[in-house]
Amino acid sequence: MLSTDLHEATVEFARALRQSPAVAIHGIAAEALAADPVAQGLLADLREHQESLARTQRAGLTPSREQIDQLRLCQAAARANQMIMAHLRATNEVQAYLPTVVLEVSAALGVDYASLIAPPSCC
């Protein structure tokens, strides 16, 4: 349970982050992607083919030429979709931006905040 002061500072930090260009654009791109049935269909196809290929490999078998060709077609279709690519670009931007802000948290704290919040499974 966070103290009131810390909770307020956390919420204010989140609010400022949400208004930063990288996070705001990512939010818009994520909403647009979620609302686009074509893009969702392409992503579902891609996941399905990736999982099929992974299942084949887990079973110790070599994926067929057809499986590989199908996956490549799905990848090409996803890359040609503007919504998916816009979301990918926004994700890359936000992944480049967040570490710079977290460095500022660490500088004020005097300890590496990123290490402290890393998931237990993280290397």
Partner: protein
Amino acid sequence: MLHPATEDQADFAAVTSAAEAEALTAASTFGAALRASPEFTALLAADRALSEDAEAVAAIEAFNGLQAELRVEITTGALLDSQRVELDRLRGAMLAVPSVASYVEATAAFQAVCRETASVVSAQIGIDLAANCRSGGCCG
């Protein structure tokens, strides 16, 4: 006089820059609030007590020394039973030193606070902060 499109771009750049500056200021304030938390104060005290405790320092050095010596065996999974037993013994001895136990406890408590703040931020921004706050991913 600037071309209207150029003026728009300049306005956008100014707004963008202001929002980024505000986020950095909020990040700094947030870091200071974390630093002022009782859990961080307790961690600093535990760290100080640990570094002043000769028994703790010796126990940590003994464990770290053997761990470094056996790094290859540990990483390749080639640890002998006798080596594992010795490593466990030294780990147990280290954790049994009261100042080490207090330090471990204080670290876990502060880490829990930090993770709770990260959850709040993640929920508000719709992005997993812990997974995306290091360049190269969580292990970056």
